[in-house]
């Protein structure tokens, strides 16, 4: 009973609250980091250095008026943000946050589930998350939103490929689809050393799937106003917002898991290492956003089909060849 029910429930609660808190504070971190890169402070006046800012934003959005445009497809319009956020949260379930430990004679794992098809699960559901974006854009009945949705679907369709191929080379080296196995296999030498090409391909195509600068086609503020979420207000918008950052957190933890050795690291406990690495990746995301211009839609496609995909494929072949030889 305890093993099957109570512990998972406790874990779910902890995971949900902690991760959502982290995600909320990712927005704060983004604003602070962007601020400091841009020679300013970022939020300062709500709490110490603006620490209460995400909470204020959340409550405000919760109590804002819901606007549903007349020409929106109402059911889909309401469904889209829900898809976005729920898929993002589902993904959190199988991320291994740290090594298992024993308490009261019970072995506690720091992940909710460890399905044998772990990484495929993530790839599959990450794609589903973009349904939220696409449907949100389409159902708004707004041309900007429509174009944002169209761009989002094209982006996802393309970048899924190189993402998968980058992962395949890791799968080949680990010989398992389970995330926990992948982390365990990195004891000693991280995958980023063994697979630098896959690492970069994964980083780039992951950023693209997240729709972050320099690949923020679907929302491209200056081109499409807000793109897909142009008609969304209040909590629905907040859900999109939250989903975006949850995806970012998931992405960062995936990079950590797949390439940066997960919880492995000297001195500190595993979970601390995990979060340090994850935040480093998040920082890189924000840093890149602050520095680079946005690519153009067709160039993004070109980058994928003419550069990332061949590189990832070649990497898979080379990995296979090396593994066959050694």
């Amino acid at each position: 009973m305890i093993d099957f029910f109570i512990i998972p429930v406790i874990k779910v609660i902890i995971l949900f609250t902690v991760c959502l808190l982290i995600v909320a504070y990712t927005t704060w971190a983004e604003r602070k980091i962007l601020g400091h890169i841009q020679l300013r402070y970022g939020p300062m006046r709500v709490g110490w250095h603006g620490l209460l800012q995400p909470i204020a934003d959340g409550i405000k959005n919760f109590f804002k008026e819901e606007v549903i445009p007349d020409n929106a497809d109402k059911a889909v319009f309401l469904l889209a943000p829900v898809i976005s956020i729920s898929v993002a949260i589902i993904l959190l379930a199988i991320i291994p946050f740290g090594e298992p430990f024993t308490i009261f004679g019970k072995k506690i794992t720091l992940w909710l589930a460890n399905p044998s098809i772990g990484i495929l699960f993530i790839l599959g559901f990450a794609t589903l998350g973009s349904y939220g974006t696409i449907l949100g854009g389409w159902s708004s009945g707004n041309k900007y939103g429509y174009m944002g949705g169209l761009r989002a679907s094209a982006m996802i369709l393309s970048y899924e490929l190189s993402l998968a191929f980058a992962v395949i080379s890791i799968i080949m080296m680990t010989g398992s689809l389970s995330l926990v196995d992948m982390v365990s296999a990195q004891h000693g030498l991280w995958n980023v050393v063994k697979q630098p090409v896959a690492f970069f391909v994964f980083l780039i195509s992951g950023t693209a799937e997240l729709n972050r600068t320099p690949f923020d086609m679907p929302e491209a503020e200056s081109e499409l106003c807000c793109g897909y979420n142009v008609e969304y207000s209040s909590m629905k918008f907040a859900l999109f917002f939250l989903a975006e950052y949850t995806h970012m957190f998931v992405f960062a933890s995936l990079v950590t898991t797949l390439f940066l050795g997960g919880w492995h690291g000297p001195f500190l406990p595993g979970i601390v290492w995990f979060f340090i690495k994850t935040f480093a990746i998040i920082f890189v995301c924000i840093w890149v956003r602050a520095t680079f211009p946005r690519l153009r839609y067709d160039k993004v496609m070109k980058l994928e089909w003419k550069f990332l995909l061949p590189v990832a494929l070649a990497n898979v072949i080379v990995t296979g060849a090396v593994m066959a030889l050694v």
Binding site: I33, G35, H36, I37, Q38, L39, R40, Y41, M44, W287, V288, A290, T291, F292
Partner: protein
């Protein structure tokens, strides 16, 4: 136009094939700025000093005895481009003119400083008060009483 006066900027076009290095340079530049001190003025707690010539809210200057210097000649009202100044002059038996009514619509005013420039008596001057805001249009109609002490309208916030 001879050639020596022209720079052809095509020479500044980057060479082909440089991909990674410029990216890294840019990232390094932003990272450098990440660690440098912000230039932000934390406004309500910190305030900078306005320059001597700053054109803020108007003040009607008074002499030592507290009497307005203004003689209601109406030059400022005449020069004012948005016509924000209304003066109703009054002349007492002694022949001294003073403004019965001197109203400046601070909202209408564009703070060009012409009134201060043309005033032959130095009676009107623009102060360093720059952050007066209010809820109501009525509050911006400044009469003589308000114009005597524009400093009190400075924004006080924490």
């Amino acid at each position: 136009m001879d050639k020596s006066e022209i720079i052809n900027v095509s020479g500044m076009r980057p060479e082909k094939g440089k991909y990674v290095l410029p990216f890294l340079k840019g990232l390094a530049y932003t990272l450098k700025n990440f660690f440098s001190k912000p230039v932000t003025l934390q406004y309500p707690t910190q305030k900078t000093k306005r320059s001597e010539r700053w054109r803020g809210l108007h003040r009607l200057n008074v002499d030592e005895s507290g009497k307005l210097l203004c003689v209601a000649c109406g030059l400022c009202a005449a020069i004012c481009p948005p016509k924000a100044i209304t003066i109703i002059p009054y002349e007492d038996e002694g022949g001294t003119r003073y403004p019965e009514k001197f109203v400046i619509d601070e909202l209408r005013c564009i703070f060009c400083g012409f009134c201060q420039e043309v005033c032959p008596k130095g009676a009107i001057s623009l102060t360093g008060v720059y952050d007066y805001v209010d809820y109501n249009r009525r509050d911006f109609i400044f009469d003589i009483e308000k114009l005597k002490k524009p400093e009190t309208f400075e924004f006080k916030g924490k």
